[in-house]
């Protein structure tokens, strides 16, 4: 992993900011490893006493238990520290990622599905968390454990130490081989699983097509096929997983058997192995212990590997190019009568992908207080004009000026006082109905929210809801038309100077349509209004027309 990746710098920052905790974690881990080394040594003493037909004192038994208890306590402590550390990392990464969101260009959100971005926040960060807790930290602990046990074994018996040192690379090679295969099938499983998971919401949204074309069986078959794909991959990785650990245990038995045979040879060989009966007991305990962390290291490598993709995706996300910086010194973009026009498009060229030109040499201007309507066929770029005005995109050529200031330089904080944007359809946010209107802006008082609701004629309806303005969004039983009204309330809550009306896509009955029109008329009072050619012809009939495209 490269040190310079943004993810690693986040992690370094966390380690750096919590030095005390990092230090404590290391101490506890080391302590817990050292504590596990001692009980077999006590056992050795006990056996040696017994073979010499000597009394075993109670205090030796108590020391043994004491050490076991201590290592248990330290293990608990280790778990706590690792969890805390992992959560700190998770928190830090998510925070950093969230902070990145506001700097991403608008088209990032149109290019990437929200579900996919969310999955980076949720699944990929979880993977990184498990990479730290069940991966890097525990691997460090386990490696240290293996080494310290090897040292003790070597100290106790050079011969056995030699055997184990010879065998360890071999076992590690086997472990790696298994891991690689398991990982491969896990990756194909994950791909299949994502298909399995995607198939369910897709079925729900396509249920009408499935029923009218009578493809229930087909969709079921597809689902079964995806499951089958995942099944085959899992089955394979299960097979490796099932035989790996038995192989390791068998090898450790082989080592014990070989050691015992060699020791039994007596003479010089026994000298080399330097073993008493008590040592044999201790060493059997150690041999069991030396492969345990080796197996865990295997798992940990796997955890790290499976998180690699997540790490890569998080890094990619944090390295996404950022949008143009706005100029926070620009405040109060209000109408100053000395400028030529309030809103001006000067020879604007624009394309989303640098290939298909959407706007070319567009020029128009709007005076303060004027009401205009943009007309043009679908795809001519009417909505694009709005996006440029809102500073969501920057023109390729030419300038978009609001009171002489480039639209894309106006900071987000200023926008709400400047623009009220009625979107094509209402986008509910997670929050109460009052928050649907205020969009959580602390600058908008409840009074302003209520005034906005009154203006669009929703005040009474909202008061009739079970919890009035505090009713959560998911409990609002509004019609599409009422949501559209809510969208107008949202647009005007902060008393903006400019009102932008996009095409309304909802199917509305004539009654609601009238209501919306009246609300729009009231909302337009005293504002500069730009609307996109509307099916509400009666609303736009006295607007100035601006043709977009041919």
């Amino acid at each position: 992993m490269n040190k310079n990746t943004p993810l690693m710098s986040v992690v370094y920052k966390i380690i750096f900011n919590s030095k005390g905790m990092t230090f404590l974690t290391i101490i506890i881990i080391v302590g817990s490893i050292v504590a596990t080394l001692f009980p077999p040594l006590i056992l050795e003493r006990i056996i040696n006493l017994l073979t010499a037909q000597r009394q075993v004192h109670l205090y030796l038994a108590l020391i043994y238990f004491g050490l076991v208890a201590l290592s248990g306590l330290l293990e608990s402590g280790q778990n706590i520290m690792i969890t805390k550390f992992g959560q700190k990392v998770t928190y830090g990464i998510r925070r950093e990622m969230c902070a990145k969101l506001q700097h991403l260009p608008t088209d990032y959100f149109t290019r990437n599905e929200p579900g996919k971005i969310t999955s980076r926040f949720v699944n990929d960060v979880d993977a990184v968390d498990s990479m730290f807790t069940n991966g890097i930290i525990s691997m460090f602990a386990d490696t240290f454990k293996v080494l310290s046990i090897l040292i003790v074994i070597f100290y106790k018996s050079k011969g056995l130490g030699l055997i184990i040192i010879l065998v360890t690379p071999f076992i590690f090679a086997i472990t790696r081989m298994f891991q690689k295969r398991i990982l491969k099938s896990q990756l194909s499983n994950r791909m299949a699983i994502s298909k399995v998971n995607n198939h369910v919401p897709e079925t729900i949204s396509n249920i009408r097509m499935i029923h009218t074309l009578f493809r229930q069986k087909y969709m079921e078959q597809k689902y079964d096929d995806y499951i089958e794909e995942s099944y085959a991959a899992t089955d394979k990785s299960n097979l490796y997983d099932s035989i790996y650990s038995p192989i390791i245990i068998f090898i450790s038995s082989c080592i014990i058997a070989i050691m015992m045979i060699l020791v039994a040879l007596g003479g010089q060989v026994q000298q080399f192995f330097g073993i008493t009966v008590g040592t044999a007991v201790a060493i059997i305990a150690y041999v069991g212990k030396v492969f345990e962390p080796l197996e865990s290291i295997g798992m940990e490598i796997q955890n790290i590997q499976s998180a690699v993709a997540g790490v890569k995706r998080i890094n990619e996300f944090l390295q996404e190019p950022e949008r143009k910086k706005t100029d926070s010194s620009i405040v109060n973009v209000e109408y100053a009568p000395n400028t030529s026009a309030y809103i001006r498009f000067e020879h604007v060229n624009f394309s989303y992908d640098k290939e298909n030109t959407v706007l070319s040499d567009l020029c128009f201007s709007v005076e303060s207080g004027e009401a205009i309507t943009l007309v043009g066929r679908t795809g001519a770029g009417k909505s694009t004009v709005f996006r440029l005005l809102l500073g969501l995109y920057s023109p390729d050529k030419g300038r978009v000026l609001i009171n002489g200031v480039d639209a894309d330089k106006i900071s987000d904080a200023q926008k709400r006082k400047l623009f009220g944007y009625v979107e094509q359809s209402f986008h509910p946010v997670a929050g109460s109905i009052a928050e649907q209107i205020s969009l959580f802006s602390p600058e908008i008082s409840l009074k302003q929210v209520e005034d906005a609701a009154k203006l669009v004629g929703l005040h009474e309806n909202i008061l009739n809801l079970p919890k009035g303005y505090d009713t959560p969004a998911e409990n609002i039983a509004f019609s599409q038309g009422q949501f559209q009204l809510l969208s107008i309330a949202r647009a005007i809550a902060a008393s903006p100077k400019i009102l932008l009306l996009d095409e309304i896509t909802a199917n509305l009955d004539s009654n609601t349509e009238r209501q919306i029109m009246e609300a729009l008329n009231r909302a337009s009072q005293g504002r500069t209004v730009i609307s996109i050619s509307h099916r509400l012809h009666e609303y736009t009939y006295n607007h100035k027309i601006i043709q977009i495209g041919k």
């Binding site: 056996i47 038994a61 897709e202 009218t212 493809r215 229930q216 087909y218 015992m260 007596g266 997670a430």
Partner: protein, 585 residues
């Protein structure tokens, strides 16, 4: 892939035992290998004790070198068999879980795909089903752990305890007395662990929806300058999540070493009294082998029993998941495809005195009558919200009606879903594409030529230019295609699958006028042996249609374009204003 058994419907899918019954063969293998393996687990401590004793005897000169070789080889052979059994058990337990997950998903999906749109959307069953399907993993994981632990904890503990009792029953009793205490504490803490876990899950849920909200509404928040304060709100969710994750994890993971300590208290007694046994002053007489075996078996047992509480946790989690899945488990549905209708008869449509209403609401349309016969294209239009889409949806059984819709002498409401789908094809506003290739989206599992349908919707050239042609993947819900491409792919699918009556609700809204005219030409050819109901708010094709149904103010006039232009002032106004708009563009 065919090496695996086919997925079969599960009888009594709402009984957890049904899933165990389906897996009798793997379960038998698990039982046999599980018992052999776990009883064989004693072999480790036993042989280790024997090896040490043999070493002691050799050093003392009681036994010779070859007896050690023989013992070591026997030891290895036994361990090999035991470990072999272990791998068999491990593998089949996992396969059992895998199969069960497959069956549960299969059953849940079957009820999902056979639910009506109303059930899925209005009644919110869609979300519930999605959650239930996600629950399958947790449930199966619990079943797997349960099956594993029945042997790895249950059998092995019994084996260890009998070994201990066989060696010295008095010492076994007093040293094992601490283990139940560990269980007792684990049992006491269970509710607390569940509580912290539930809080953690809830917080995770809140965080996830906050993430989704922050991201999917990013542009809205940006337009309204709310990004910064949303980030702050997100951070408070993050803090809450961190806190709860830590406490849930601490309760779940740190207790096990403590249980182990409690169980290991017995070791003091074993060392003290066991040593007496070896020295000949205890309850029984032991050699070194017996001491070592007893001690090693005890240590392993203590470790095992400290993990047993994890078993309780996973079983409990599984129960919670299962309780959510269970009520949704319905008998396997095989849609009824029996029919006495001859679908090859030329189509005929007679609608008389039709009223449409949504339950509990006043009728949307009243007294609609019209008819059509083979080869005709009927235009349906009217002002916004006149009910034209509702009329279209009535043909696919989504809107209840009074009056009559007769299709070649059959009343629509009496047709089964299958019969309806064989008589009527429908295309609504949403393209409803699946994440597969363009080809697959059109054929949907059938094998037929798609080129002429791609040509019919003016999509052939664009498809040919794509790197993989018709095998280009369209992405989830078709997102890799543009809006116009999605609409044409959906139209090609509708044409490919067209039955006798074709209902098209605003099929051309996402294509430009030239394309629309081209596609309309193809529709004319396709419609030669069919009836097409073309619902549209764009009227410039209407002069060429055979008949027009004009809906306004809750009722309809069925006539021709020509006559409507003369007799219906509102229709004429609508048409003229659109044609005037044409000239402007």
């Amino acid at each position: 892939m065919n090496q695996y058994r086919k997925i079969k419907p599960v009888p009594k899918p709402n009984h957890i035992l049904s899933y165990f019954k389906l897996e009798l063969w793997p379960l038998t293998l698990i039982t046999i290998s599980g018992i052999i393996y776990n009883v064989g687990m004693l072999a480790g401590p036993y042989f280790e004790g024997q090896l040490v004793q043999r070493l002691f005897d050799i050093i003392r000169g009681y036994k010779d070198f070859y007896s050690m070789v023989r013992l070591a080889v026997t030891y290895l052979a036994v361990i090999l068999i035991v470990q072999l059994m272990r791998s068999i058990k491990r593998f089949y337990v996992r396969r059992f879980a895998n199969n069960t997950s497959r069956h549960m998903r299969h059953m849940l999906y079957n009820s999902l795909v056979n639910m009506s749109r109303d059930e899925l959307e209005q009644e919110g069953l869609g979300t519930i089903m999605t959650k239930a399907i996600a629950d399958v993993d947790a449930c199966v994981e619990g079943m797997r752990k349960f099956t594993t632990e029945v042997f790895d904890t249950g059998v092995v503990l019994a084996a260890y305890i009998s070994l201990l009792f066989f060696y010295d029953w008095r010492l076994a009793i007093i040293s094992c007395i601490f283990t139940p205490a560990a269980y007792l504490i684990a049992e006491q803490l269970k509710t607390r662990i569940t509580h912290y876990n539930a809080e953690y899950k809830k917080s995770a849920g809140r965080l996830n929806s906050a993430t989704m909200d922050r991201i999917s509404n990013s542009i809205t928040y940006r337009i309204y300058g709310s990004e910064l304060n949303r980030d702050k709100a997100y951070e408070s969710h993050l803090k809450d999540y961190e806190k709860r994750a830590v406490s849930a994890n601490i309760w779940e993971n740190t207790m096990q070493p403590l249980y182990n300590i409690i169980s290991m208290s017995g070791s003091v007694l074993i060392i003290y009294f066991g040593a007496k046994n070896v020295l000949g002053t205890g309850w029984t007489n032991w050699n070194i082998a017996e001491f070592t075996t007893f001690f090693s078996a005890f240590t392993k047992m203590a470790l095992k029993s400290s993990k047993a509480s994890k078993l309780f946790n996973s079983v409990q989690k599984a129960q919670v998941s299962w309780s959510r899945i269970k009520p949704l488990m319905r008998e396997y549905v095989v849609p009824d495809t029996n029919t006495s209708i001859d679908f090859s008869m030329p189509p005929k449509l007679t609608v008389s005195n039709l009223s449409l209403y949504l339950p509990g609401n006043p009728p949307i349309l009243k007294n609609i009558s019209f008819s059509a016969c083979r080869g005709q294209i009927i235009g349906v239009t009217g002002p916004i919200a006149c009910g034209k889409s509702t009329l279209g949806r009535a043909f696919i059984g989504e809107v209840p009606y009074d009056g009559s819709i007769q299709i070649s002498e059959h009343e629509l409401s009496e047709l089964s879903g299958y019969e309806r789908s064989r008589l009527i094809s429908y295309m609504g506003h949403a393209p409803e594409l699946i994440s597969d290739s363009i080809r697959e989206n059109i054929q949907l599992g059938e094998q037929g030529d798609i080129v002429r349908y791609l040509q019919a919707v003016c999509f052939d050239e664009e498809v040919a230019q794509m790197p993989q042609g018709a095998d280009t993947l369209v992405g989830s819900s078709g997102t890799r295609l543009s809006g116009g491409q999605q609409a044409r792919a959906a139209l090609a699918r509708t044409f490919y699958n067209a039955r006798q009556i074709l209902i098209l609700d605003d099929p051309f809204s996402a294509v430009d006028k030239t394309t629309e005219k081209e596609i309309f030409k193809s529709l004319r050819i396709l419609a030669q042996d069919k009836i097409v109901i073309l619902i549209s708010h764009r009227l410039y094709l209407f002069p060429t249609l055979d008949k027009v149904l004009f809906l306004d103010k809750g009722t309809g006039v069925f006539s021709t374009h020509k006559e409507l232009m003369q007799e219906n002032y509102i229709y004429a106004k609508l048409y003229n204003s659109q044609m005037a708009g044409e000239q402007n563009e």
